[in-house]
């Protein structure tokens, strides 16, 4: 830990950052708050509405449905990507030329524009011309993600696993490579089996990076928009309409600014709250 000196000049150093981020964060946030408590019939005429929109959003079936879908989606991808990512990181070579080959190839999906990810999976999963869709149907399973909600969800989850598991792998791998060889040697001498090594050496050392992996995957999956929008457009029906997709539909599609703004704020608060809960839960032990 670095011992810090009190120096109010610090504000000078952070001023450019504060100005730029505030410009992007504070003004739009005020706009959103402003809309969320007013009603408009166009022509820039607004009427104060208080918390009406908040009540409306919180009581709307549509919002509940989107929130439930969002929670289901985020829950599923966390349940798959975190254990899978850890397993892959454990199986990766620790030294040698294959390490950078693995890292480069695995990082590739992270660098593909999100709509291209959606488009790529659309082409890949189409039942008539896609490799995946064609293969599944050839196995005798009726699969069409543009028509069946089940297939759409399967494709959506698989796409996210494809897209983001590497992030967990890279983080977990970095955590693993920070473990000195002596720990493995000591464990060997102590007669520890593979499970004991994982449980008492590797997992504790990965805890910090895994906390970050879970937080990041939670936040990012909760905000996901582009990939499902391009892949399924929220369909078939509303079956894959996640929170962001619904929000954009309301705001830009129907131009219902009041409800959209209220929903935005509720949405943002949910992410903040859940992130905080996650973070507290995962770091609680360390404090003791």
């Amino acid at each position: 830990m670095i011992r810090k000196t009190t120096n109010q000049k610090g504000w000078l150093f952070v001023a450019p950052v504060v100005l730029l981020v505030a410009f992007n964060a504070v003004i739009p946030l005020m706009t959103v708050v402003n809309y969320s408590i007013q009603e408009t019939f166009g022509d820039n005429v607004f009427f104060f509405e208080g918390v009406k929109w908040f009540e409306e959003v919180l009581h709307s079936e549509r919002f509940h449905a989107a929130l439930m879908r969002q929670l289901a989606f985020t829950g599923m991808i966390l349940a798959i990507e975190v254990p899978l990512g850890v397993a892959i990181a454990l199986a990766m070579p620790r030294k040698g030329p294959w390490v950078s080959v693995c890292l480069v190839l695995m990082a590739l999906p992270l660098l593909i524009p999100w709509n291209v990810v959606g488009a790529m999976w659309n082409i890949f999963a189409l039942p008539d011309i896609g490799l995946l869709g064609r293969t599944i149907n050839a196995l005798g399973i009726d699969y069409n993600f543009t028509r069946q909600p089940g297939s759409a969800w399967f494709t959506l989850i698989l796409m996210d696993v494809w897209h983001w598991t590497s992030l967990v792998v890279l983080l977990a791998y970095a955590g693993l490579s920070s473990i000195p060889d002596a720990f493995y040697q000591a464990a060997k001498i102590d007669g520890a089996g593979a499970w004991a090594i994982f449980r008492y050496i590797q997992l504790p050392k990965m805890k910090r990076v895994l906390t970050i992996a879970i937080l990041l995957r939670f936040m990012d999956s909760f905000m996901i928009y582009t990939e499902p929008f391009v892949l399924t457009g929220g369909g078939p029906g509303n079956s894959t309409t996640l929170l962001s997709i619904d929000l954009v539909k309301i705001a830009l599609g129907q131009f219902d600014l009041g409800p959209a703004a209220a929903m935005s704020l509720i949405y943002f608060l949910i992410i903040l709250l859940l992130s905080w809960v996650f973070y507290t839960l995962m770091t609680r032990n360390e404090a003791n």
Partner: protein, 266 residues
């Protein structure tokens, strides 16, 4: 068991490569072949799709636009984040912790929430449809990220380095540029990599803030997909080309990635 351990990453990488291969495969096919038959390799190998992209300015300008705002954003984000990260890692000042936390909350703001206000804000200041608009908008999530990563690296540099330099009579800015920055070069590389990455992959804000002049390649693709029907080969070629800049960047920073992640600051 350990003998077959390599199968796990190998199978995973194959899984990662399959959709990319399919995209590549399609990009070399004619529209007729894509729609008319199911082939694992292009039967009539064609470069027409790529030719179209490289000759039609609405296509290739998309790449130029994207790279332009991504580079501007990376430069801005890292430049302003450097002094801020230095202050967070070295000084204590009124409100520092709250400020740091507030910066990080912006990483949690869904772009969908900000799309419309951003459109209005940047229209109002007359920056709509410019590269700088997108570059500035992406600062919302990239600056907090860059500050976070750089602060991690800077905290790893002992304060004695600063003190020795002052004793040797270096003025602050000369010390910062000549001595301090080279010391955390790896951190700057990692921060720039992630800024590049998140700006390059983001579409919602980029699309909302542009119409013609600064339209990103990703937006060109979505519009093509929806308006001109089934030009899948062209779409696949355009998609393939968007992977290349990312692949280049990863290749150059491959040795730093693990290190950057190791700090757990992403």
């Amino acid at each position: 068991m350990t003998r077959y351990k390599w199968l796990v990453p190998a199978l995973y990488i194959i899984f990662l490569m399959l959709p990319i291969y399919w995209l590549l495969n399609m990009s070399f096919k004619t529209t007729n072949e894509i729609l008319g038959s199911f082939t694992l390799f292009p039967a009539e190998f064609t470069l027409d799709n790529y030719r179209k992209i490289f000759t039609d300015s609405t296509w290739y300008m998309g790449y130029v636009n994207s790279l332009t705002y991504v580079v501007i954003n990376t430069v801005i984000s890292v430049t302003v984040a450097l002094p801020a990260a230095y202050a967070f890692s070295r000084y204590r000042f009124v409100g520092d912790k709250h400020l740091f936390f507030w910066l990080l909350t912006n990483r949690m703001a869904p772009p969908a929430v900000f799309a419309l206000p951003f459109f209005q804000l940047y229209s109002a200041v007359g920056l709509f449809d410019t590269h700088i608009a997108v570059a500035l908008a992406h600062c919302l999530f990239n600056i907090p990220l860059a500050v976070w990563i750089l602060e991690g690296f800077m905290s790893g540099v002992p304060k004695e380095l600063d003190e020795t330099a002052y004793v040797d009579g270096y003025p602050f800015w000369r010390f910062f540029i000549k001595i301090f920055l080279p010391t955390i070069a790896a951190g700057i590389g990692v921060a720039a990599f992630f800024c590049f990455m998140f700006s390059w992959v983001e579409l919602l804000l980029a699309k909302t803030l542009t119409s013609v002049e600064a339209k990103p390649i990703a937006a060109t693709m979505t519009r093509t997909a929806s308006t001109s029907g089934y030009e899948l080969g062209l779409l696949a070629a355009a998609g393939t080309l968007t992977i290349i800049p990312g692949a280049f960047v990863i290749y150059f920073v491959r040795n730093y990635i693990a290190k950057g992640f190791a700090l757990g600051r992403v």
